[in-house]
């Protein structure tokens, strides 16, 4: 009898526990976990600060696990899952703020006006006649949207120091990657002389470097790339490797490989897309109302030991472009990618990558914020492998742009000074 009573009590309590869970949303966890800047590195504000007001926007409505269904279709389906299942993904909030019109930098706006109507596409989609500014004011097809993204308002030179926790399936931080990404543009320059192009006889479009300063095994590794104006000319790459004490030439053909260090994103995934437009076919799927992190706060926050970058960001409602790209290389690791594009800044705020079996594989959400000089910075990038529940999320801090760099800023002498090692 006693056993029967005990068993019934246990079942009774279990029933109410389950009922309570269902009523309260089962996997819902509110922000008991601290949302903020975590990790062993101090957060740094850009030297000139952020765009005025961007960190203190008025929230119209917050979407969380309790009301996630209200924004079905306004964000990718996977984000609805994130909102609802905070048990797996951590607390996550979408804070809708009032729409704010995007304004490019003055030089970029002038260049857009000056070169308006001059750009056109070749039969294969190659952009012709572009000098600076936005190529297509009202894009009509996928290629035009893609080129608008490629030539969107950015910077003439930029440095993005970042910290990226690499988080495993169990929510454990494997390590923090720390480094800088810096870039110098040779063409399309609108803010810093020389404009619109930096004279060079190598036909360079840009120089990139990605130096690592932590952890120990990555410290002092410095990949360095040249990209050319000629879309059909391959990139050139080199890497200083401290254990070898020398520079090694890189093969730049396999940009669908990851940079190492446990990173989820490939070389072509950075900031949504960092590949060559002409290596893909672009299709405009359509337009739809969407909530995009297009005016995100510049102070990145995340929940310690959880996957999602910027767990408590600002989102605005816009009529986004939905863009699909398919690699021309039949052996590419992705079968296709889908991007949700801000119709004013042309950033790829959401990027979904599909594997060869057309299954969703990797997600890249770029939260676009702005510095005081009007140039953008990705406050954080959610880079998730949804098949293995693994993430590496770079958070940018202390960034600066348009300082008037020369190619010498990318010399090995300078780079080895920035990332000292053996």
């Amino acid at each position: 009898m006693r056993i029967i009573k005990t068993t019934m009590a246990v079942l009774f309590l279990s029933f109410f526990f389950l009922l309570g869970n269902l009523l309260l949303g089962g996997n819902c966890i509110y922000a008991d976990d601290e949302i903020g800047w975590h990790g062993p590195y101090e957060f740094k504000v850009p030297p000139d600060g952020f765009k005025q007001g961007i960190n203190d926007q008025k929230v119209i409505k917050q979407f969380n696990c309790g009301n996630a269904d209200e924004i079905n279709g306004l964000v990718p389906d996977i984000q609805i899952e994130w909102l609802k299942d905070s048990q797996t993904w951590g607390p996550f909030f979408i804070n809708e703020t009032p729409y704010e019109k995007y304004e490019p930098t003055p030089g970029y706006a002038q260049a857009t006006e000056k070169y308006k109507g001059t750009c056109k596409l070749r039969d294969d989609g190659l952009l012709l006649n572009w000098v600076a500014g936005l190529p297509f004011e009202n894009p009509q097809n996928g290629w035009e949207v893609a080129w608008n993204f490629e030539k969107r308002c950015k910077w003439d030179d930029v440095d993005f120091p970042y910290v990226a926790p690499v988080v495993d399936k169990k929510g454990k931080v494997k390590h923090f990657l720390k480094g800088d990404w810096r870039r110098l543009y040779f063409v399309g320059r609108t803010e810093v002389d020389p404009k619109p192009a930096y004279p060079n006889d190598r036909g360079l479009e840009l120089m990139d470097s990605y130096g690592y300063s932590d952890p120990y095994d990555m410290r002092g590794i410095i990949p360095r790339y040249y990209r050319y104006v000629d879309q059909f000319k391959p990139d050139d790459g080199w890497m200083y490797i401290p254990t070898m004490r020398r520079v090694r030439r890189l093969s730049t053909a396999q940009r669908m490989d990851t940079p190492g260090g446990g990173n989820v994103y490939t070389w072509d995934d950075f900031q949504g897309f960092a590949g060559k437009i002409m290596q893909y076919d672009w299709k405009l799927v359509g337009r739809k109302e969407a909530l995009l992190p297009r005016m995100a706060k510049g102070t990145p926050e995340w929940v310690d030991g959880r996957h999602l970058a910027n767990a408590n960001q600002y989102y605005q409602r816009v009529n986004a472009y939905i863009l699909e790209c398919i690699p021309k290389d039949p052996n590419h690791v992705y079968s296709k990618s889908v991007f949700w594009v801000d119709p004013e800044s042309w950033h790829f705020c959401y990027a979904m990558r599909y594997d060869r079996g057309d299954r969703l594989w990797r997600i890249f959400n770029t939260h676009i914020s702005y510095m005081a000089n009007g140039t953008y910075m990705p406050a954080g990038m959610s880079c998730l492998d949804v098949q293995t529940n693994y993430s590496s999320n770079p958070y940018v801090h202390g960034s600066f742009s348009n300082t008037g760099w020369t190619p010498n800023a990318f010399s090995w002498k300078q780079l080895r000074t920035l990332y000292p090692s053996r």
């Binding site: 120990y216 050139d236 060869r356 293995t388 000292p420």
Partner: protein
């Protein structure tokens, strides 16, 4: 009994260190003064066992139980002045753990004048870096690497090697012998996009010969008696003598899609040559390390059609000294050597959908010009022609947690080795590598690996970083 106790204490210390360091919940190097002072390093245990017995050794004997603590520091006084140092200490415990091992090397140094075989604490590298406009000066004890080769060396000629404790089966960084030198680098800002660099190196006095295992050592050259090393040590040039001066220069840059360099280095040969001389003793041999001049160049080039980096280097050694079978003279002959190689990261998505396989191959060739039949081809000399090929393949699984790798090196004379390994690196704090060195060779054959052909081993490397 004493040794057994020592061995037990050693093992206890080893596991205590592992537990302590492994239990630390937060990995971080030590950073002070807003990052201007940076301290990091690692503790490592390398344990190796023989896979076959030879002579007095048995299969399963310990080849190594080496414990290493390495601390690295960077001090940045300002943007133009910094200091870097590596302190490395090690303790080889295999003689404490196994009484049956040949204990002759236990209290010896590598020959002719290498590090102590059992224990050492060394300020391994230290140098100041001074930047002024387009110039960079690196002054102090350091490693300087030229060349494009992996696994074997050709243009990597500045620093000698210490092959006494693990032969050539370590990363070069761990077995190069740092030297006191002045390295000046000129990188004109105006030519930054061409990556032009002109370099000058001067090693005023610090000459060190290549180090080998003493007699009885695991990686000793079979049949070479200790007396040879003892005598070589006596006859080494005085380490602190300007007569040892070595000087060289290199210019490199990017021309089109090619990265090219040319170099010249005037130096002492790191390996001794000898002649019969009854006035010397106890062996009637006179050892010397003559100066040679090495002129060479390197290239690398990326070809998009094949998605491959091609690289190569060439070294022309003027009057490279060789031993005579009659021991009556040193035979100086010009020697040409070159390497051609390729790197091709390749996706085999059916094997690894997320990461490429890094495939790297090389062909090394050396040719003694105007060959003299009196030149000895024993004692690991390479002979008139020397051809070696190497193939390295590695990849990463599960977000770079698991890294399998295989390196195969084969000399056309029939010697070589296969070095498979698998590394597990779940985070920053520690990693473990399981591997094997499997040598092959023909009887009575020499070259680098022939004499070691029965020294196969399996090893476990455990590293904890801080």
């Amino acid at each position: 009994m004493k040794k057994k106790l020592k061995g037990i204490m050693l093992l206890t210390c080893f596991f205590s260190v592992l537990l302590f360091l492994g239990a630390q919940s937060v990995f971080a190097a030590f950073e002070f003064a807003d990052g201007r002072v940076y301290l990091t390093g690692f503790y490592e245990n390398l344990t190796a066992v023989r896979l076959q017995g030879v002579g007095d050794t048995d299969k399963g004997d310990l080849n190594m139980f080496r414990n290493t603590l390495q601390v690295e520091t960077t001090l940045e006084l300002n943007d133009n002045f910094s200091f870097f140092a590596i302190v490395r200490g090690y303790y080889e415990g295999m003689w404490d753990l196994d009484d049956s091992l040949d204990s002759r090397p236990e209290h010896r140094h590598g020959g002719p004048k290498g590090a102590h075989m059992k224990r050492d604490l060394d300020l391994r590298e230290w140098y100041f870096t001074i930047r002024a406009q387009d110039l960079t000066f690196k002054i102090g004890r350091q490693q300087l690497i030229w060349g494009e080769s992996d696994a074997l060396r050709m243009a990597d000629i500045i620093n000698p090697l210490d092959t006494s404790w693990h032969y050539v089966f370590e990363d070069w960084e761990n077995i190069r012998v740092p030297l006191r030198m002045i390295n000046v680098l000129y990188e004109p800002a105006k030519l930054a996009e061409y990556q032009v660099r002109a370099e000058l190196v001067w090693i005023p006095e610090d000459f060190r010969a290549q180090a080998f295992a003493p007699e009885g050592g695991v990686w000793a050259i079979p049949g070479l008696p200790q007396i040879i090393w003892d005598q070589e040590r006596l006859e080494l040039p005085d380490q602190h003598n300007l007569k040892n001066s070595e000087i060289g220069g290199r210019i490199r840059g990017v021309v089109g899609n090619w990265e090219l360099s040319v170099f010249d280095f005037y130096c002492r040969d790191d390996n001794a040559v000898y002649t019969f001389d009854p006035s010397h003793g106890p062996l009637p041999l006179r050892f010397e390390w003559p100066h040679v001049n090495i002129l060479g160049g390197t290239f690398n080039y990326f070809n998009n059609l094949t998605s491959t980096v091609f690289r190569g280097e060439m070294a022309y050694t003027m009057d490279k000294p060789h031993n005579s079978i009659y021991q009556d003279r040193i035979i100086d002959k010009d020697t040409v050597a070159f390497m051609l190689g390729f790197d091709r990261p390749t996706f085999f998505t059916w094997l690894n959908p997320a990461r490429t396989f890094f495939i790297s191959g090389q062909w090394f060739h050396q040719h003694i010009l105007n060959f003299d039949d009196d030149i000895t081809t024993v004692e690991m000399d390479r002979g008139r022609y020397w051809n070696v090929v190497s193939l390295l393949i590695n990849t990463q699984y599960y977000h770079d947690y698991i890294i399998p790798q295989i390196l195969v090196v084969h000399d056309f004379s029939g010697n070589g080795f296969i070095h498979p390994s698998i590394k597990y690196a779940p985070g920053d704090r520690w990693e473990i590598t399981l591997g094997a060195i499997l040598l092959h060779g023909q009887d009575n054959s020499d070259s680098y690996w022939g004499p070691m052909r029965k020294d196969d081993e399996a090893y476990l490397r455990f590293r904890v970083k801080f």
